[in-house]
Symmetry: D3
Subunit: 249 residues, 6 copies
């Protein structure tokens, strides 16, 4: 099985890390290909970035689709980022977003789950994304660690990241969470270290999405065309101006 | 991977059919073992049956656990039947119920899903089960076909079953469903025939649950003990009187 | 009027206590008969116990029904335990569960109510039961005292129980509760002592259920057969293996 | 026990009818006294009337309270009309509104209930009242018959009323109702005739409220003062101008 | 444009203050006329007062309407008080209540808003009013300051009021509010002082309602008669007894 | 006051029409400037288009902001399209989206509103947008006419458009709508013709948003920075590749 994983930002190092996590989580026989958008934002933090990222990811998927390389499913590796439903319209293969994927599996492991994410400003998009995916009901809390996406480094080795994560996890637990979700693709790898310390399961969205994508493909299921995810209508579309915004914008 | 699938009723022919469906849906390398409760009800239709079935299934799982045979996950193959949370308390391996499993995958395939089930009286338990599992939000409708569980026979070959299913599916579609869920373990196998006719994806809960169970095991995840699914407290429990009720009860 | 009250566990001393509370709460002219399941669990704490209890209670009601002794209504005296809807299917007389009963009356006394129960693990089943009964909207919180069901002893006389209850009640009040509900049949009798100290009404589910059952009978109302609570279909049912589980299971 | 039942309009014949229904529903030993507001509206149909009625009913209860006549509970006999929470603040005895009362009992009889009321314009206030009382979750539909309050006459004898009621009841059943609620105090007495024809329980709010009021008094429960229903603050209040509006307003 | 603003209580000084706030908020060319009910309550605090106020306000609007003076819209200046829907039935011009108005604008300024009001007992009516208006979803909290309506004096100058408001605002912020709403007509004028200190927008309902009323009039929109807000039916109505209640009631 | 109105697609004729509608709805003294994205999609129909549109609109607003031309508020004229929250982060002036604007005003005019839109595939994004804006509670239905955005032409003159709109409006009314919302910026101008025929108010989002934007500016209110809409963090962002997709994609 061939799974394409798209990073939601333009940072290639992060794509590599995500591919590592996805590969580690995949079944034997699954190959993972990573895509990095050619434009967009170096890290998605907030609504503006999320919408910019969504268009860039869709453009990336469109371009990849036109390349003719065969693949069986797509994983969208931006936690809480927009674009999911557009990819479902665009592609004929199953599309799984790491946000919803983590929540789906978390629901199978405990009565309530909590999400630990980066900056507090990421909470709004995550909450809306979980609701739109139909899995918000059992979310006890979305808690920020105060760390930016690119501050995460190699989280499993980083004492500061771990401390911030554990403090946020405690708040999620106090709000009723029995399972934790890693609320950023860049946290992949943290689940073992954190789970051991907390004594509760920790779900990484990248791994969850890879397994769910495999499940759909294995069962011969793909996106319904009978309704909201019908194929896009043929029409003129232009993907961006190509102008860079100043870094300080 | 070794997955145990429990039928929720005492009809061995139905266990065999479920095991066939589960095996067909499983990944290479997964073995499926079916369990049939030694007591309970020949088919679960309504609340009384569902509660009787729940205790019988838990007793079956308890007995199997004590047998010492190794296994990696359990699938509960009673659509809308009770017992799921008790099995999570009881066992140290992941537990996936076909009701929730079908809904989780259906949410990845369309904006709203519909469930087509047997008798109208099954709707209440199914609706409550989806809500308790946290996946009811995107359920557009639960629709009965008017067929009893044991009337299903071999559904893919049976014209009457197919017609009843398609009529119910139309009602679900009118209510907004873009994906269908087979609302009875005995409908396993119907997904291909029905999906082709309807032009929308059809999710079978048995297959969905097998794949989700594989996913949890593959990711090293199991039920949280930090909260509602802590291990049962040691105490005196007796599992039934062993007296049969009269058939007409 | 003749009301049958079923304990949800096999502890006869608790049945006696429940019957005392029910009798004290009943109108003049009402007689109360207590039933103790012949099998099941010595105290229901958590999901596994709740499902085992449900089947045992239904078997008890079935057996009692077949005995031919006349009665007018049934009260299910397991707070948060399963089985309610099955009893409605099974019996031709009104069925009132103490969980829903307490909530119904509490809604008439204040804008929000809180439930104080035994162990934290009881919270999940109680929350689900209130939701399924349609009375969860005004529930501000379900709070555990940390006491097991059989630790309650004679709660009105026990300083430790009272202290634990009052501490939990404070948490419910902070969450917005203006009325308290005793979240365990074994707490019957505590309402006076606790209400005086807290300055808010305390509703005991056993008394509430007895009065609601009397109300339904007095008004000539019983369970609707037009829908989800139709009579069970005739079919083969066996009620248990009769094998005891080891105490430490 | 002494229960005061307030009509919500100024039509004395309707008060008499309500008292008849309340008396028929009450337990032995309960006496029912009817109050008719000295001002207000001859029948409450819509929001304007409901608010006018609320103030008139509260003035009536205030005056009655000052009269010093002893009583144990109050029933508010305006289906869907405002004022309930104000009466709870004002009085030291339990207050039960027929809207909520019917819904509470209906929830004990079936999974979903429907309300059949007079004009369609009554639906809004009824829906809001059920929600504010915390019992809207299981309401499948509120359906109008197209009949005005004063058109009801003696509903049990009136063929036209019965036909309109049955037609509305069918719509409620199609929406999922398994139990019906009579959505107007003036429908009291219809429950027997309608229930027989429909094959489902029909709950009259007046009878339900009388029984619930008796239950609260019997259990020694009354409105919580710890929160939203604290006693009104002492201050200057004037109850109306005493000017009549023209009939055609 | 001619906007009529009704105070909900009988305190003329407060009407004057409200008119000042409304005039300051209005567009050039808009004139504001204040109405003070001739009867009712000197300040509305709690449910009893709110229902008394509702009838008095409707009587005031009815009398004003009959006076024949032309006007284009009505603003109801009682935060959380009842009567809104009755005024919509009664009048042919748009009606905007300050409760809903503040919430509507607050939703445009942040993801969640909080309401800071007077006494804790005002919270219930406010919460219900926001829900009935369809804007409760984004309300993070309704918080009381512990100050009575008539204690507010000139809030912008009063240190104690400001301190109490800021403390309550902090609690709203902790609950997730990003925007604050002044939860009492008598707080008009506080928005500047408070907003500066808190660093978040503060919405005054009086100003919001004036602007929304202007918007509706400017767009040629008025209340729908096609449904719940149809004109009141012609019938006999009497507006109060004219008797004053004792101050200490 | 200077209001900038952004079209969500690249069709300049539609921008002109929107500016005409916005100008007609604006108060005296307000000037309206239209912006057309330099890239994106010729009409937004579905999720893919909506995400592409969102990024293009944000790029347009960013570029306009950098141009230094003064303005007081922004109206986003894409009904149901994404991007709203990103614009709130980006800009220091109030941002009002026509989707939410129409819903806010509709809530003031009737108990429930309905949205009539173009293709059925637009329903999903509209429903999600109303929910995210906090105004979905009173939405009775979102109904498609089956017409594409660019089929609308001059809707007030076009018999086919009118017929399709009226048929959809009937369905919304049957679902409980008392007020209609025009669910596409290209429908601006239709409100008069349709409202007369239907006998209910019809709200155009463009006009509603202009008036709400004026209201916020007039009251000195702008987006909260205290939470989810904090300013975007400085970082590298690139706005598109500039490559056109083939028309048939």
């Amino acid at each position: 099985m061939r799974i394409v994983v798209t990073n939601c930002n333009t940072t290639r190092a992060m794509t590599a890390e995500i591919v590592r996590g996805a590969t580690a989580a995949a079944s034997p026989g699954t190959t993972v290909t990573g895509l990095t958008p050619a434009w967009g934002v170096e890290s998605a933090e907030g609504w503006l970035d999320s919408y910019l990222s969504a268009a860039a990811v869709l453009d990336t998927l469109r371009t990849h689709q036109e390349s003719g390389q065969p693949y069986d499913a797509v994983v969208l590796a931006g936690f809480g980022e927009h674009g999911r439903e557009g990819a479902r319209e665009l592609l004929d293969v199953p599309v799984v977003d790491i946000t919803e994927a983590a929540a789906h599996l978390a629901c199978l492991l405990g009565r309530r789950y909590g999400v630990v994410t980066t900056l507090d400003r990421a909470r709004g998009p995550i909450e809306d994304s979980l609701h739109a995916a139909g899995v918000a009901q059992h979310c006890a809390a979305v808690v920020g660690t105060g760390l930016g996406v690119l501050d995460l480094g190699n989280p499993a080795d980083d004492e500061r990241t771990l401390r911030a994560f554990l403090a946020a996890a405690e708040r999620a637990r106090d709000a009723g969470a029995e399972v934790l979700v890693l609320g950023c693709a860049g946290m992949t790898g943290l689940q073992q270290a954190v789970g051991d310390k907390l004594g509760m399961p920790v779900v990484d969205g990248v791994g969850a999405a890879v397994r769910l994508a495999e499940s759909l493909v294995g069962l011969g299921l793909t996106t319904s065309r009978a309704g909201g995810y019908a194929k896009p209508r043929p029409k003129a579309r232009t993907w961006g101006s190509g102008h860079g915004g100043p870094p300080s914008e």
